[in-house]
Each structure stands twice: as C-alpha cells, then as structure tokens.
C-alpha cells in the first residue's frame, strides 16, 4: 500500500507537471474578469481511442483522462457520469421518469444501451477497478448506474492533477434520447466515462467545495468541465464520419477500417457520427464576405465597443446531409451562416475553427435537434424539400437554435441539471431574435397557403391563465412532467427575456447579454450571476422582476374591463364660472359640453409590474400614463369636452408574458367589421362543405 501510495503521489505530481499551464485571468465569483476569456481553463484532458463494431453497435474504448484540481480543496475521490447507463434497463432513473418514451421515441427490451467500465487505474499506478461504486445522489434508486464514484488512494492536492487509464465498452441503443443508431446511422453522444464538475466554494453559491454530479434524468441535460479532447475513432471504411473539432489525421487500416483523429481544445464534451450515406457539403463562413462594415459599425455602436472587438473569424462549416434531404442543403447552410454572424456580432466571436451540422435520417429523429461543442444535429424531413412545405421554417429554427447553444451550453456552460433555463431559455430568446430579424417576425415558424405563423405565438399560446406547477428556476428533474419542463426551461424564459428587452430597450439589453456572455464565458454561472450582470449593466433594480418571473410562477393578465363617458351638466359660458345655473335657467344649447370619463383596468394574476396605459378621446391625440400595477385594479377618471374613444393597457405590447393581449384594449363604440368579415367567411366555408356533401 505504501509503495502504491508513493507511486500514486509521483503519478499525481507527474500528471500536474505535464498539464497545460496557460495563464488565465481570475475566473471565480465576484472577482471575475471583465475581459472575455480567449481560452477555457484546461481542467480535463481526454485522449480516447474507440472502435465501432457495426454489427453489434458496440464501442470498445480506451480513455486516458487527466483531471486538474483548480480548487483549494484536497479532493479525495472522483465522480463520473456514465450517461448511457440510463438506457440500461427499466430500473434506471431515466426510464422510471420517462416511462420509456422521450421526444417521440420509445425505449424497451432489445434496445438497451449502457457503458461498462472494465478497467480503471491511475496511469502507471494503482488499479482502482474494484473501488468503483455507483451512487444515486438525487433519489433513492440504488439500481441507477449513471453516476460512478472512485475513491483515490491519496487526495488530489490543490493545483495538482491525476491521470487515469480507463477501459470501457459502450452499447449504443437504437436511437433514443439524442444518441444511438438507426440503420447505418450512428449518433454517438454521452458515450464515454465523463468526469463530473468539482465546484469549489463560492462557485454558484456553494459554501463548501464538492462534486456536482447528478444522475441522468428524463428531463435533464449535461454539465462538465473544459479541456482538450483528442479522439481516435476506428470505423468500417465505408462510413462517412463527423465529430467535434477538426480532423487532424486519417489512417487506413489493413482490416478494412479507417481511423480518424479529431482534436478540439476549450470544450467540455465530444460527440461524433458515422453513416455511409452522408453527403458532405462544405463551405466557409468568411467573416469578410458575410459581415458588412455597416453591420459591424451598427453593432459596435449598439454595444458601445470598438469596431475591432466586433470582428468575427472564418469558420469551416461541414454539413453531413441525408441524400433525401439534399435539396435543403442551401437552407441549412444559410441558417448556419446567419447564426454564425448574428450570434457572433451580438455575443462575441465564435472561437472555434469548425462547425459540423449533422442531418439524421428519417427514423432517427430522436438524434435530431441537439447540441455538442462545434457539432450540432438538425431536424427536418423530406416533406420540406418542395413547395409549399418548404416555407415551413423548422429546419432553420432548429439549426439556429442548436448553433446558439454553442454560446450558452457550449461556452458559458451553466449547470443544465439545476438551471436549465440559463441555457435553453436564453438560447430560445436569442434564436427568436435571430430568426425574426432574418426571416420575418410574422412568419418565423413558416407560411402555408398564405397563413403566416409567428414563432412567438407558440410560447404565448402555452402561457395560460392557470399557472402551471413549477417555476423557471428549479432543478430540471423536479418538474411535474415533460411539458412543464419544456415550458419553464424554454418558453417562459423566452417571454421573460423578450419582455425585459422591450422594457430596457434593444441597446441596454444587447449590452446586458454581451456582458453576461463575455464575463461568464467558460465560467459555469448561476441565475444569480445573470441577475447581477443585468442589474449592473442596466442600472436598474430588476430584483423584483426576476423574483416574480424566474423564481416564482406568477402570471399576469392585464385587462381593460370598462370604459365610459357620462355627459355632465352643460356649463353656461357667460359668467357662472362653471357653477350650476340659477333655478329654472337653462344654459344655452351651444354651451360647451363636458364629459366625465372613466377607464377601469384590472390586473389578474400575482405578478405586479408597472404598466403604461393609453387613452384616446375623440378628435384628440392619445395620452399616456403609468400605473404601478400593485393593486388588483385601477380606475382612471377624466373630465374632458370629448368622449373617450378607446383605452389600452400596455399599448406597445412590452409584456410578452401578459396572458392575453386581446383584453388589453376596449373601445367605446362597437366596430362590427371584423365580426362581419369573419362570420361571412366561416359561413362561406361551411356552405362549401355542405355543397360538397350535397346534390
């Protein structure tokens, strides 16, 4: 044991000495640098060799992992994610929570997947295989195998590192929950033993340092530390391969396989794909060609930055398209370049050299719509190849959204288990902004036979009067069901952030978002860190706003309940000074009329927020006033020579999370044009159907 301990200590020291020692500015807590980091802290170094057995869909892997302890704690053990074990059997936490169904795909017997660590040892040191233990920190499910803990013979000292050699076998399931195979198509994600994140005291509000390693839940995604990946994949020669990062080597083997080597720094995950049917489409996002000087200057002014800071880099873009979707290649490429430009100008230069977009086949849709560093999967169908269905913008929405994750999940890398909205919600808001500006806000979901559908209608449609159980900020696996997870992680945060933009203005909000991204790039922030940046940059106290919208599930529905004008007694202009005329004396008929008008505004729901009210009197320009929204209702009264014509609450539609905009306005006199038009149209269609069935 003593000899083993000495060997371990030497290995630890040796591992630390070989680690990349680039200087990094302060990256923790309040002292965080205001300069965006060019490189991530190099906490992990993965060197993986893997062979795909196409017949059995099995991966045989050898992993050399070096983990660096950047905390001030001596760390006695290591925690790992074995995500594929979520698909091992019916006893996993994932299966119990999902019931075997997710994103339209079904799991079940003859379709299991798993990761089996066959050997784990310290490099040139102790064999820790027998020390591996499965943990279940989130629930009481001792059968769940997605979290593994390995006690170390000696703690990793602060600033030290440990290098492990891990042998593993992974079974890919038939494509389910983002990963697996369908026919010859393979999407290999979350496939290797991945070390968890050690959070030091002070990060994300922690009082003491410790591992943050959650089980794989039906409604959770991922969280990992940054570093470097060098992966060698050996596949049958007929397969076309794509992966995270850039291809640095390719070697034909004598057994009819090919070994591809991919490398990427400053990332926290690695995914790859293989399919003999892929059609490779390559292009370059050329910053000089895609971004005009005027666009750069406009953004520089908006963000109050030197133009040089807004400059973007060239990126090699690779599309791996299914043959049946090839007519959509141009659309995909346009969406990618639009996203590279818009996100880059807005948040900062995309720092990687490559981007790969994978198009899963039909039947493999469960692998679509997902993000990995420099590697995303799209979602489309051959129905969208041709008119009129090519006007439906689902491929564009998916590509822009999944690319957007590069800036949030990929670079900011918040804990998606505990605060999914910081990735999905912020990205949904960002995606809508990009799509609206480049494809048209009123048709951002698509156009079909003249019917335009805006994406904004979707989250608004789901924002109903009865608050759904849950709130935006809560651990992803604690939502009542998949629908609530989707609403609170994606939709409602989008409405909240869009509302915040309308309240603060485009300029301020752009600066908030850029500052947040730059400050927390490679930094694992929490919701509180986002609030702090928003408050700092906007100069406004947004505490109440975030508390009500993110921390609670309050809703609001403003309504103009009533408006009316009552004629007051006519005044006699000739000397009574507005007092009542003498008994029996009638004021002249041409005496000016005065009305007392009132507008009653209701606030339904628990969310209190100041709101503007606009009122228009006949023949006059609209007037505006503000209501603090604290009480449940407010009555405005006016004395004017004119009758009131209409009243609107939130006339600029700033509050996107107002449940209904229709009741935000009321007019005094009925206008039956809409009713007449649409009654006639509905009856006309009814008549056509009856005539079709008749005579």
């Amino acid at each position: 044991m003593r000899r083993g301990a000495i060997v371990c200590a030497l290995a630890l020291a040796a591992g630390g000495a070989t680690f990349d020692a680039r200087e990094q500015p302060a990256v923790t807590g309040a002292g965080r640098s205001t300069r965006p980091l060019e490189h991530a802290p190099q906490i992990v170094d993965y060197r993986i060799g893997v062979r795909l057995d196409h017949a059995t869909r099995r991966l045989e892997g050898q992993e050399r992992l070096t983990w660096r302890n950047t905390s001030s704690d001596a760390v006695p053990d290591l925690w790992f994610h074995l995500y594929l074990n979520a698909f091992k059997n019916e006893n996993s936490t994932f299966f119990r929570e999902s019931g075997g169904s997710l994103r339209g795909a079904l799991q079940g017997p003859n379709n299991w997947g798993w990761t089996n660590v066959t050997s784990l040892r310290i490099a040139d040191g102790a064999d820790l295989t027998s020390q591996m233990r499965f943990e279940h920190p989130d629930d009481d499910n001792a059968d769940d195998r997605t979290v593994m803990r390995v006690p170390l013979p000696a703690p990793v000292p602060p600033g030290g590192s440990v290098t492990l050699d891990i042998a593993f076998t992974a079974q890919l399931p038939r494509v389910f929950a983002r990963t697996g195979y369908f026919g010859d198509f393979h999407l290999v994600g979350q496939w290797f033993p991945k070390i968890a994140v050690y959070e030091p005291a002070g990060r994300r509000g922690r009082r003491t340092g410790g591992w943050n390693c959650h089980q794989f839940h039906a409604n959770s995604e991922f969280y990992a530390d940054f570093g470097r990946f060098v992966v060698e994949m050996t596949v049958p020669a007929r397969f076309v391969v794509g992966a995270t990062g850039r291809r640095t080597a390719e070697r034909k083997n004598s057994d009819g396989t090919v070994t591809y080597t991919y490398e990427q720094e400053d990332v926290h995950d690695f995914a790859w794909t293989a399919d003999p049917r892929f059609v490779v489409v390559r292009d370059v996002f050329s910053a000089a060609r895609e971004v005009t000087p005027a666009e750069q200057e406009r953004m520089a002014t908006l963000l109050d930055r030197p133009v040089g800071e807004i400059a973007l880099s060239d990126v090699d873009v690779t599309l791996l398209m299914q043959p049946s979707h090839l007519p959509q290649a141009a659309r995909h490429m346009r969406a990618v370049k639009t996203a590279l430009k818009e996100f880059g100008l807005w948040y900062g230069r995309y720092p990687y050299q490559t981007l790969t977009v994978v198009d899963p086949p039909e039947g493999g849709e469960a692998a679509g719509g997902m993000e990995y560093p420099t590697f995303i999967t799209s979602a489309t169908t051959s129905w969208f190849n041709y008119r009129p269905l090519d006007q439906i913008l689902i491929p564009e929405q998916t590509v822009v959204h999944e690319f957007g994750h590069q800036f949030w999940y990929g670079m900011v890398a918040n804990n998606e288990f505990e605060e999914a909205w910081l990735d999905e919600g912020i990205n949904s808001y960002s995606t809508s902004r990009v799509i609206d500006r480049n494809y048209g806000a009123d048709r951002s979901l698509g156009t079909l036979f003249g019917l335009r559908v805006a994406w904004l209608d979707v989250p608004r449609a789901l924002n109903i009067r009865t608050p759904r159980p849950g709130r935006i900020r809560q651990p992803s696996w604690t939502y009542m069901n998949d629908e609530n997870y989707g609403f609170y992680s994606y939709m409602k945060p989008e409405l909240v952030l869009d509302t915040l933009e309308r309240i603060l203005g485009e300029q301020t909000m752009s600066r908030v978002m850029r500052t947040y991204h730059e400050r927390w790039r490679f930094g694992h922030p929490s919701s509180d860190d986002f609030y702090a940046v928003a408050i700092e940059v906007s100069g406004q106290d947004l505490t109440s706003f975030f508390k009500q919208t993110i921390e609670r599930n309050d809703i609001v529905d403003f309504e103009v309940e009533d408006l009316n004008s009552v004629e007051l007694e006519r005044k006699d202009p000739a000397g009574t000074n507005g007092q009542k005329p003498a008994a029996g004396v009638q004021p002249p008929k041409d005496a000016p009329v005065e009305y007392e008008s009132s507008v009653t505004i209701n606030r339904h729901g628990g969310l209190t927020i100041p709101v503007e009210v606009a009122v228009k009197f006949e023949g006059q320009a609209p007037e505006r006033m503000t209501w603090d929204g604290r009480d449940g209702w407010k009555k405005f009264t006016f004395r004017r020579p004119q009758k009131i014509e209409w009243a609107k609450v939130d006339p600029d539609k700033k509050l996107l999370f107002d449940v209904s905009w229709l009741n935000n306005a009321l007019r005094a006199n009925a206008d039956r044009r809409v009713a007449t038009k649409w009654t006639a149209r509905w009856l006309f269609w009814l008549q056509n159907v009856l005539m079709l069935a008749g005579v």
Binding site: R277, Q322, P323, S324, H325, L326, P327, E362, T381, S382, W383, N385, Y386, G450, L451, R452, V453, A454, L456, D457, R460, A461, I464, R465, W646, K648, V659, S660, W661, L662, N663, N664, A665, L666, R667, A670, D671, R672, R673, V674, A675, T676, K677, W678, T679, A680, R681, W682, L683, F684, L686, Q687, N688, V689, L690, M691, A693, G694, V695
Partner: protein
C-alpha cells in the same frame, strides 16, 4: 358524344338557372342555422381594437386569445353545429338532387316548381337510401384503397431519392381521388337511371351504374373533368377577386360577401350543368337491358268537358 353532353350541360347552366338558385337557397338556409352561433362568437371582437388586424388577414395569436377569452366552448358548439348540418345535408341533398333530375328529364309543361317537387317527393327515399348505403361502402373502399397504396409506396418513401416521399404522397392522393370519384360518379348515374326508368330500388340502380362507369371511364370521367376545369376557372376568378378586393371597410366586406355568394350560385349551376350533361351521356350510352321508358306525351282525356272549352 362528349361534346354533345358538354353542350347540353353548359346550356343547362343558363336554362336551368332556377334550379341552381333553388339549390343555393337551400344551402343558404342550412348555413343560416349556424349564423347565430358564428356571429355571437365573432361579435365579441366589436369592442376589441386588438382584434382589428384580423381585417387584413388571419392571425394565429389573436385567434388563440379569442379562444382563451371564453371562446373555447363556443368553438366546440360551432363544430358540433357544423357536424349536425353535415348530417342534415344528406337528406336535403337527396331531396334536391331528385327534384333537379326531374326538372332536367321531364318536359316543360307542368310548372318548374311543380316538376321539382314532384320529382323530389317521388324519388326522395330511394335517393336517400343510395346516399347512406353508398356513402358507407365508399368510405370503406376509400380507406382500404388508401391504406393499400400507402403500403405499396413504402419503399419509395424510405428510398434515398429526394422526390420519393413527395411522389408517394401523390400516388396516395391519386388513389384517394380515383376511388372517391368513381363512387361519386356511380351515384350520379344511379340516380339518373332511377329518374329515367323509375324502376327498382336504389341498390338495383347502383350496381349497374358501377359497371357503367367501369365500362366507359373515358367518356364519363372526361365529362366530369371538363366541368371540373370550369369550376377551377371560376374558383381562380373568385380567389383573384377576393384577394384584390380588400376588407378594411364595411362596403368592401359586403361586396366580398356578395362575391362569395355569387361563387356559390355559379358552383351550384355548374353542378346542375354536370348533371344535365350526365343525363345526355347516359341516354346515349343506355346500358344493355335498360329499355328507354315509353312516355305517352298526350295527357289522358277527361270525360268531363273543361268549363273554359265550353266557353
């Protein structure tokens, strides 16, 4: 023969305009049953300025707000009303088609309305039975044919050929249209056979008509397609006119309603014209074993001298 039938049909559009108007009026009467429910649903927008963008085009967001602001139940009752009207339209259609055929087939001596009602009353039950039984059989046959075609094109759907799924959908749609049109045309010729011969029941008239359509597909489908083309031209004209009309003022909205109803009248007239052409075609084809009825053109002599004759 096809040209003759077509000419007869086109002539009937104008000559038998009264029939088309009658059909249209019946259609309007049915639709008016739904008017109160539809109007009250939309009338809520009268005081809501936020609904004004609906004057320009349909907005899914506004429609959703209308639904959650108490419109959900109303929509359900409107759908149920529509479904009820659809069911009611079956006997109404039997009545109207019987009257229409009587007018097209008989001569002009009795007055138009008398002829119409005579035929409608005489053939109503047989036409209704044909519609119900034939409709059920058609639904089963169409479902089976579409399912069969979906299976047949599976490989096309799963192929790597980019237009594959689109072509597969086209084949499935063509199958649906072919089978549906086959049955619909057979109903027409069954009704014509019944109206001309006044012999046998609905099924006895229908089965030979199925065979008739199979034996003479080019002529029968040819006539129907010609009228379909006419309908397509009228529909295109309607869409063109309604798109350019605008609907932001009440006079424009009322003009739009007038155009819609004019379209429905023309549609009814085309239907009458098609029936007239089919009668002409049927009489020329006259399937074997179906002798033309002997019609004595002279009314029976009354033994009682007519009073005006004596004068």
């Amino acid at each position: 023969m096809l040209t003759t039938s077509m000419r007869r049909g086109v002539r009937a559009i104008f000559v038998e305009a009264r029939v088309a108007i009658l059909v249209w009026l019946a259609n309007v009467a049915l639709a008016l049953v739904a008017l109160p429910a539809v109007w009250s649903w939309w009338a809520r927008t009268s005081l809501l300025p936020e609904a004004d963008p609906l004057l320009e085009r349909f907005h899914t967001g506004i429609f959703r707000d209308l639904l959650i602001d108490g419109g959900g139940n109303g929509l359900l009752s409107m759908l149920l009303t529509g479904l009820g009207l659809l069911i009611v339209s079956v006997p109404v259609s039997a009545f109207l088609s019987a009257g229409t055929l009587e007018v097209l087939i008989s001569d002009d001596s009795p007055k138009f309305f008398q002829r119409f009602m005579t035929g409608a009353g005489h053939f109503f039950w047989r036409f209704l039975r044909l519609a119900i039984i034939g409709g059920i059989v058609m639904a089963i046959a169409v479902a089976a044919a579409v399912a069969g075609s979906a299976i047949a094109v599976t490989r096309l759907v799963q192929s790597n050929w980019p237009p594959g799924p689109f072509v597969a959908l086209g084949i499935e749609c063509a199958t649906f249209l072919a089978v549906t049109s086959f049955f619909l045309l057979s109903f027409d010729y069954a009704r014509i056979r019944l109206a001309l011969t006044d012999r046998g029941g609905a099924l006895r008239a229908w089965l030979p008509s199925l065979w008739l359509v199979l034996r003479h597909p080019l002529r029968i489908y040819g006539l129907a397609v010609l009228f379909l083309l006419l309908f397509a031209i009228v529909a295109a004209g309607y869409l063109f006119a309604i798109a350019r009309l605008g609907s932001h003022t009440m006079p424009l909205i009322l003009a739009g309603i007038a155009i819609q109803q004019l379209f429905l009248i023309v549609r009814a007239a085309l239907r009458v014209g098609l029936l007239a052409g089919e009668v002409e075609l049927y009489q020329w084809l006259r399937p074997a074993g179906t002798a033309a009825p002997v019609v004595d053109p002279r009314p029976p002599q009354s033994p009682v001298p007519l009073l005006y004759d004596a004068q």
